[in-house]
Amino acid sequence: MSTAHLIAVGSSPLGKTDLPGRDLFSKALAEAFEDLPDPADVVDALYVGAQSERYENQIMQGTLMAEWAGLRNVPAERVEACAAAGALALKNAVRDVRAGVHDAVLACGVEKMTAGGTEGATNALGAAFERALEQRSGITAPATYALLARRYLHETDATERDLGRIAVKNHGNAAANPRAMFQQAVDIETVMDAPEVAPPLKLYDCAPVTDGAAAIVVANDEVAADLQGRPDTIRVAGVGSAANNLAVAERDLTFVEGANVAASTAYEDAGVGAADIDVAEVHDAFTVCEALLAEAAEFAPKGRGIETVEVPGDRSAGWTDVQINTSGGLKARGHPIGATGLLQAVEAYEQLTGRAGERQVADADTALLINEGGVADAHTVATVLTAQ
């Protein structure tokens, strides 16, 4: 089995932009290949994560992205698992490289969420929920996560203010991230005074509707060694994924079991444990998810995931020293659905290669990514990355 390396990364601007999806992809591709030969001379295949064709009335994203990268007559596939699509693209690229099917693969993701306004995004995201009983009850993404949050606050000592502090922490991190959509800090009073979206979740508990794209080159040992100018690649050490039930009602609302399975699988694949992880990007589509995923990844004891906001020395016994969502997370870096899992990998790349600037975590050499789709736990991909 070959080792899979991430040898180059790129992302588009994140937020409401004037660029359609394919042009956002062009921006991400241009950054990723800035110091590389043409994509056609580097990669043999492409996977693209894209949540919905509703935004731009365009399927066949695999073919389109390949064309825009100058790739022709190569395998090029769109993958879909709502917000986990980006990590799924990365996972498939890694699998192909490890298996020797391809020497190098382009993993990318794109979403033009603002194309149909807030209503368009609400309706497109609604397709991720179970149709027969849940969609027909009028639920939305904030509402389904609010069901998790309400139960979490009921079963633990956590408060709405504790959830709000996760948003404050992530905005603070994004202020030091030039890629982030919201590069400004917010204070807890602003967060607590914001309008309710789906109680107990308020505006700042929710990741924004975001346009964006990301592109990552995954390569085997030979390609990684051959390409000049990219000595600081990182290694994919472990991958895991799991699908839990689609209906939120049929899952444990305070233990994201699929994420626990995915993370455990990735740890085992990498030969590491939770305590070895220095930095983690976890799927904070809503603040409660960051707490739930800190517990599912075995960073935090049950019910204490909210201490993700504390510096390691101030956390409860049983917590690891991991730093979570240094990018600003989905909340403040931005959440262009199909690209999000790859944006998490971009942050890991910057942390593990010492390029994270003001938000650099000292001596970071092992990272965990958790990317989820379809109300928290319906689909999870976990990835362990290490510095070379």
């Binding site: 009983l133 027909r136 009850s137 939305t140 509402a143 069901l147 309710e196 039930n245 049929e250 609302l253």
Partner: protein
């Protein structure tokens, strides 16, 4: 299946279990959505029950998510249960906008089956642990944009919980 009177998967009185045969899977069977909603229209809420581990599943399906067994049978469900969690959809999908804000809850029925549904009460009146009863509404009496329905959904009833 050659003898309909012997069909194990469409008769809640029959306890025969095992993998569904291809010929069992018709729109008359509550193991399909049309059959499930037809029964619901007639006042029967049918779940799949796993005969290996007793997981109850709404809507019914051919295999158990709890243990993987296909030894499932249909089981008529109690209408009553309790609120496990709840919230309010303040900005619903466009087809539901006339209903906003929509109180919704995850409810565990007294059989242990769990499902999400609207609650016919303001958010402030609902708490975790509240007892609720499932009611079935004709779709025409619920103010949902008819364009929301797929062609095969038009006659399907809509469920809602009432506080007891």
């Amino acid at each position: 299946m050659t003898d309909d009177s012997d069909s194990p998967m469409t008769d809640t009185e029959n306890t025969t279990t095992g993998p569904l045969a291809p010929e069992d899977i018709t729109a008359d069977s509550a193991f399909t959505l049309p059959g499930f909603f037809d029964a619901l229209s007639e006042g029967r809420l049918l779940a799949a029950r796993c005969t290996e581990c007793d997981t109850h599943m709404l809507p019914p399906r051919p295999a158990c998510y709890g243990c993987g067994s296909r030894a499932v049978t249909l089981s008529e469900q109690p209408r009553t249960g309790e609120v496990i969690s709840y919230t309010s959809v303040n900005r619903p999908p466009s087809a539901f906008e006339h209903l906003a804000p929509i109180t919704v809850a995850v409810v565990e029925l007294d059989s242990s089956a769990r499902l999400t549904g609207r609650v016919a009460a303001p958010l402030d009146d609902v708490s975790i642990g509240d007892r609720v009863e499932l009611r079935v509404r004709d779709p025409e009496t619920v103010d949902i944009d008819p364009d929301f329905d797929l062609s095969y959904e038009e006659e399907w009833p809509i469920h809602v919980f009432e506080l007891m």
